[in-house]
């Protein structure tokens, strides 16, 4: 187990290297003139016809390996370069947005995982009954709909009509509290900081803003977790040890909750990685729709503006995150499965 984790750490540099090469090679498909648009996107700025000057200024006509090594040299020192689309160094851009996305992802994962697992278990327990069919159809529909359409509909209903959950991350008043000198930013997560600073208004306001994006993400990813939980649970319910538990006289409720669910969750844990991967993709759309300033929105922006250091940075940080998550997955895998823990 420990070995496995260490092994993963050793592989990590190769993967990171691979990611940088991959993303960099995509960027290098563009010519220097085209890459200049990374720096300039307003034609009015090009009056002096100084494109060539700019190109050599930014070193855009150097051979790729020089450009790459210049960049990678910075990376080694924690410097991912300057993000034109954010107007900040990439690392700063990402770290300033990271808490927002983390907050969103964390809060989204809770209903997704809880709801998805709960419904999945229920669906499996009621296998082939009406409940199962309905849940399956709803989940398939949830899966079959573009996220942004959902997002806009959620926005329309919960903000446009009901006025409950506004877009953005905080309203002006709450933002003012957060900016004030007395407010200490412990974590960057608004809800958490609000609690720590005993500012109930901030907590409330942050929640209001989170619900829309969360609901949107949840609708899509519920169905994913649900499906996996359901089939894993169905399989588990057919295992011999379930029969053993029943034969002991264990009540059905406990058979399901104690004996089956934990085992059924083991394979579910393994999809946490892919789910987070997808969730991060979903975040790109949801954050754009809700004007929620996080890494997703930044990624969308950076990609559209061909901000290659930005994209590279997001990709790098996303892969850091994923590798971290996979580590956590491996550990939690061990925690629920003693067969691995005791290896």
């Amino acid at each position: 187990m420990i070995n496995y984790i260490i092994r993963r750490f050793l592989i990590l540099p190769f993967i990171l290297f691979g990611v940088t090469i991959l993303v960099f090679s995509m960027i290098m498909m563009l010519g220097p003139y085209q890459r200049l648009s990374t720096y300039i996107n307003d034609p009015a700025q090009l009056k002096g016809q100084d494109m060539d000057k700019l190109i050599s200024k930014y070193g855009l006509d150097d051979p790729w390996y020089e450009q790459y090594s210049r960049w990678i040299g910075g990376v080694v020192h924690g410097d991912f370069g300057w993000s034109e689309s954010a107007g900040q160094p990439v690392t700063e851009a990402i770290f300033s947005r990271f808490p927002a996305t983390l907050e969103l992802a964390l809060f989204a994962v809770i209903p997704v995982v809880m709801g998805g697992i709960w419904l999945g278990v229920l669906s499996a327990v009621h296998h082939n009954q009406k409940f199962d069919h309905i849940i399956r159809i709803i989940s398939t529909i949830g899966w079959s709909f573009p996220t942004f359409v959902f997002g806009l509909l959620v926005l329309m209903i919960f903000y446009g009509v009901l006025g409950w959950f506004p877009p953005g991350r905080l309203s002006a008043d709450a933002a003012a509290i957060i900016r004030s000198a007395e407010f200490v930013r412990y974590t960057g997560l608004n809800v958490l900081d609000g609690i720590l600073n005993l500012e109930i208004n901030v907590v409330f306001d942050a929640f209001r803003h989170l619900i829309g994006p969360i609901v949107t993400l949840a609708i899509v990813w519920w169905s994913y977790i649900l499906r996996i939980t359901r089939s894993s649970m169905l399989e588990t319910l057919r295992k011999d040890y379930i029969r053993t538990a029943r034969a002991k006289g264990v009540a059905e409720k406990f058979v399901i909750n104690k004996h089956a669910r934990r085992n059924a969750l083991i394979p579910v844990v393994t999809v946490a990685g892919p789910m987070v991967l997808g969730l991060l993709g979903g975040v790109v759309i949801v954050e754009s729709v809700f004007g929620y300033r996080g890494i997703g929105q930044y990624a969308a922006q950076a990609a559209q503006q061909l901000d290659y250091s930005g994209i590279l940075g997001v990709a790098m940080y996303f892969s850091f995150l994923l590798i971290l998550i996979n580590l956590i997955v491996d550990v939690s895998y061990a925690v629920i499965d003693p067969r691995i823990r005791l290896e």
């Binding site: 010519g31 890459r35 877009p167 008043d173």
Partner: protein, 585 residues
């Protein structure tokens, strides 16, 4: 009756972002809009006007009448207002003013706005510090200056702006009529900085030795990139690029404090979100593109002001000299029906035929939803030289056919042609304009084929610079409200857009005297003569169908009814928070 939401905060929801907060670096609307709230200029425009000025940090608007402009029109003197403080408490002095302009001219980043100071101060042909260094000490790149050379250069620069007590005088090379317009531009290059504070931040320290280090900064390493210290009504509180900018009121503002404590500019790209924010009252004012305006127009509590003139135009630049090498947009590259030759648009009849094959009326009515006026050449309403009765083209397929038949001595009509009309993806009006041309031209002769192609911005830019596009779209937003700012880029052989028409055009423009006319126009103080010149240039543009002149869009403003005190101005970027208030009906 509705209550005002958050009466102490004004929220303006816009799209896009800011690229820098340094007034000498900024050259985009997003940045200027922010800078405008914090920095002030010597003079400004008077309300909605783009011609009349009002004194700001100088106590009077210079004119020949009040003697602050010299007889020959080349010296401009400003009397600096006393008792004005920067928001850090430092007093404003004439030295601050001189420092501000010198610092701007020294930093002069490549592709930046400072050419607007060099051209009047040093004359035509001077567009930046490098031109001065080349001229004075023969060094092309200011970064290569030795200390000694730098001293010389600084001396030349300092000669141009002199201080005498509270008087600051600019010594122009020759008369330059739009000079006051340049200084009055609401933000950016004309802003007055606090010298002491700026030097503390690490900006140019006032010495010649620091020129090399301060010239052409990398944006993010520019010391004033993310800090501001002005005399204006607001103080920057927080800038989160691409998301929001927060201002707090400057309580010591010399004209008295603003009406609300906080002003916020939020950047939200999604229209639906902006719209909902306005409808919910969480936004006081939003950017509403014309096409979606009908969605909010007429809603309770919302007002829309339309028809605000904008010094902006859109045309289709016809390439007289298409680069054929590696060009995939012109088919075979020959006049054989399968493509177009390099000089396709050098033929006047082709240009005219194109000009007659565009439905200007439908474009303005349907795409612009009536909020535009047809262009009559590069110069827009209400600048000098604009004549609303001048000749324009209109959709006329017979005329178009006639010209097509004449083109290339009738050969074109026989062989037909195939070409690509390219626009940058995502720009719907351009796509529609291209679709329109295609649909009419293909109707004229079945041998005419136009493919409308959308490419991404970077490709578009690259191709238009390399000259491979047969026709490309141009759009210009004025730097200052003077016809020169339109004719120069559009018609002058050295202009930005002339470059896209290739050498054929450049030579032609020189031959027919366009360049001379432009040069005369900018160095003449006589208004009547100027008008004559610009009218002539307008006429030449139309008569020769240099480009396909499409339209001048107007702007609109969408806000809650509780917003009072808003007024439009065609030149100023963004809105003037200081003038506004929030009051329930």
């Amino acid at each position: 009756q509705e209550e005002v939401n958050s009466p102490n905060t004004f929220t303006y929801v816009n799209i896009g972002d800011q690229s820098t907060l340094d007034p000498h670096f900024a050259y985009d609307t997003g940045s200027s809009e922010v800078i405008y709230q914090v920095y002030e200029t010597l003079i400004g425009y008077d309300g909605e006007s783009v011609k009349n000025f009002t004194p700001l940090l100088s106590t009077e608007v210079p004119s020949q009448e009040n003697g602050l402009i010299s007889e020959d029109g080349s010296d401009y003197t400003f009397l600096i207002r006393e008792g004005v403080e920067f928001s850090n408490g430092n007093s404003l002095t004439a030295e601050d003013v001189k420092y501000s302009f010198l610092r701007g001219m020294i930093s002069d980043r490549s592709g930046g706005p400072i050419w607007m100071l060099y051209e009047p101060l040093f004359g035509a042909g001077f567009a930046g510090l490098s031109d001065v260094t080349a001229d004075v000490v023969g060094v092309e790149d200011p970064k290569q200056l030795t200390d000694e050379q730098a001293e010389k250069v600084l001396a030349v620069l300092e000669d141009k702006i002199t201080v005498d007590g509270n008087r600051v005088t600019f010594h122009l090379e020759s008369p330059y009529p739009p000079f006051l317009n340049i200084l009055a531009q609401g933000a950016s290059w004309g802003s007055i900085l606090d010298k002491e504070w700026s030097i503390e931040q690490g900006a140019w320290d006032g010495t010649a030795a620091d020129i090399v280090a301060s010239h052409d900064p990398v944006k993010e390493e520019d010391p004033l990139f993310d800090k501001m210290m002005g005399t204006g009504p607001f103080v920057l509180t927080e800038w989160v690029n691409g998301d929001h900018v927060v201002f707090n009121r400057n309580n010591n503002y010399w004209r008295g404090p603003a009406n609300f404590k906080t002003a916020i500019i939020r950047n939200v790209d999604e229209w639906s979100t902006r719209k909902l924010m306005l409808l919910r009252g969480d936004a006081d004012m939003i950017y509403a593109p014309t096409q979606y305006r009908s969605q909010v127009e007429g809603e309770d509590g919302i007002v829309v002001t339309t028809g605000i003139p904008a010094l902006q135009n859109m045309n289709m630049i016809l390439n007289w000299d298409i680069t054929t090498e590696g060009n995939s947009y012109i088919g075979s590259g020959k006049l054989d029906g399968e493509g177009i030759p390099s000089d396709f648009f050098a033929d006047e009849d082709v240009r005219k035929a194109f000009s007659y094959a565009f439905n200007y009326e439908a474009f303005i009515e349907q795409v612009r939803m009536g909020e535009a006026i047809q262009l009559r050449g590069p110069i827009v309403d209400p600048l000098l030289g604009y004549d609303e009765n001048s000749k324009v083209y209109s959709l006329n397929l017979e005329k178009a056919e006639e010209h097509f038949q004449k083109a290339f001595d009738g050969e074109l009509w026989e062989t037909g042609f195939t070409m690509d009309l390219v626009y940058n993806s995502g720009n719907d009006p351009r796509k529609t304009a291209a679709d329109m041309l295609k649909s009419y031209i293909e109707r004229i002769n079945p041998k005419f084929n136009i493919n409308v192609r959308g490419v991404q911005w970077s490709t578009y830019l690259d191709a238009s610079v390399r000259g491979t596009l047969p026709a490309s779209f141009g759009g210009w937003l004025a730097d200052f409200p003077d016809p020169h700012n339109f004719v120069q880029p559009f018609l002058d052989s050295s202009g930005y857009y002339a470059n896209r028409r290739g050498d054929t055009y450049k030579n032609w423009a020189d031959e027919v005297g366009i360049n001379d006319l432009i040069a005369e126009g900018i160095s003449t103080t006589d208004s009547a003569r100027r008008e004559e010149i610009y009218k002539k240039l307008q006429k030449m543009s139309i008569d020769n169908a240099i480009d396909l002149w499409i339209d001048q869009p107007t702007k609109s403003n969408t806000r809650r009814t509780w917003v009072k005190g808003w007024y439009p101005n065609a030149v100023r970027p963004g809105v003037d928070f200081y003038s506004m208030d929030k009051v329930a009906e």
